[in-house]
């Protein structure tokens, strides 16, 4: 965590990550513990941690870990006093990789629904309808981020990396 003026940033985590599956839970729980020290909102801390975990899992499943630059695997979490938290995960992925198009298409599909809950329900029904599909590729993670994290998703593909960003508004409803 770095110290910056609280008017601008309440906290900031910015780190490179080794592409090992066990690091997902290590980082997810670390983020949850850090945020519990910042917020009194336990539900909000769990949401930030869940979003972090799902984005990291997504990066490990669909990133280019064979030919891509592993040093480009990066987690950033930033929060401001206005209760908006940004979680972003960058990982190596060539723009021509089919996973890049699948990712941007999925986010466009989610953002096309009036509410993330509708996208989540639609995705669950797709899983039921495609009974024989590979469940390890169910792609429920991003839509869960949008629904349970109540956040807006965006993806940028550039310089042989993809960065997925989730903006969470933790303001009381």
């Amino acid at each position: 965590m770095t110290a910056e003026p609280l008017d601008e940033i309440g906290f900031s985590i910015d780190m490179t990550v080794r592409n090992e599956w066990r690091n997902v839970d290590l980082l997810r729980t670390s983020v949850q513990n850090c945020f519990t020290a910042v917020f009194a909102d336990v539900d909000g801390c769990h949401a930030i941690a869940m979003v972090t975990g799902e984005l990291l899992e997504n990066a490990l499943k669909y990133g280019d870990w064979l030919s891509g630059d592993r040093a480009m695997f990066r987690l950033r979490v930033r929060g401001a006093k206005n209760n908006v938290v940004m979680v972003s995960v960058q990982n190596p992925l060539k723009p021509t990789d089919p996973n890049a198009a699948a990712l941007t298409d999925t986010i466009a599909w989610i953002n096309g629904f009036p509410k993330p809950e509708a996208a989540y329900r639609a995705r669950m029904m797709q899983i039921v309808e495609n009974e024989d599909s590979d469940v390890s590729m169910s792609q429920l993670g991003l839509v869960r981020v949008a629904f349970e994290g109540n956040c807006r998703l965006a993806a940028v593909v550039e310089d042989e990396t993809v960065t997925v960003t989730a903006m969470l508004d933790l303001s009381p409803a």
Binding site: A49, E131, V135
Partner: protein, 121 residues
């Protein structure tokens, strides 16, 4: 029916006198592909419960976290139970927002056949 251990996850099974197989999830379900281990365990559970004419209760109120791949495995379990004619109840902690969101969303699979239901602990 044996308990299941998968990484940070444990599922403990207890059978009530009414032949309800109460499966209590503890710890964290955070494997890359939990379905690889959960599916064969669910299949054995379903066969055992079916043979004894029982029902299944999955208790999640003590679990710390599960990833989206686990949710997909649970959706598959709901389908398998309905196909196999085995009643399935999922019990969760309504006071935890993340559990409320995850499980209330599964109400889309509740039908009038009483084969799948959700209840707060």
């Amino acid at each position: 029916m044996d308990n299941l251990t998968l990484g940070d996850l444990t599922i403990e099974v207890r059978v009530t006198p009414e032949t309800v197989f109460q499966c209590t999830w503890k710890g964290k379900s955070n494997e890359r592909n939990p379905q690889e281990v959960l599916k064969p365990w669910f299949d054995t559970l379903l066969t055992t419960v079916s043979q004894q004419g029982g029902a299944i209760e999955m208790h999640f109120d003590k679990i710390e976290h599960f990833n989206s791949s686990t949710i997909t495995a649970l959706i598959r379990l709901i389908q398998s139970c309905r196909k196999g004619g085995v009643k399935l109840t999922m019990v969760y902690d309504q006071s935890l927002k993340w559990q409320r969101l995850s499980f209330d969303a599964l109400r889309v699979f509740e039908k009038n056949d009483d084969m799948f239901s959700l209840r707060s602990a």
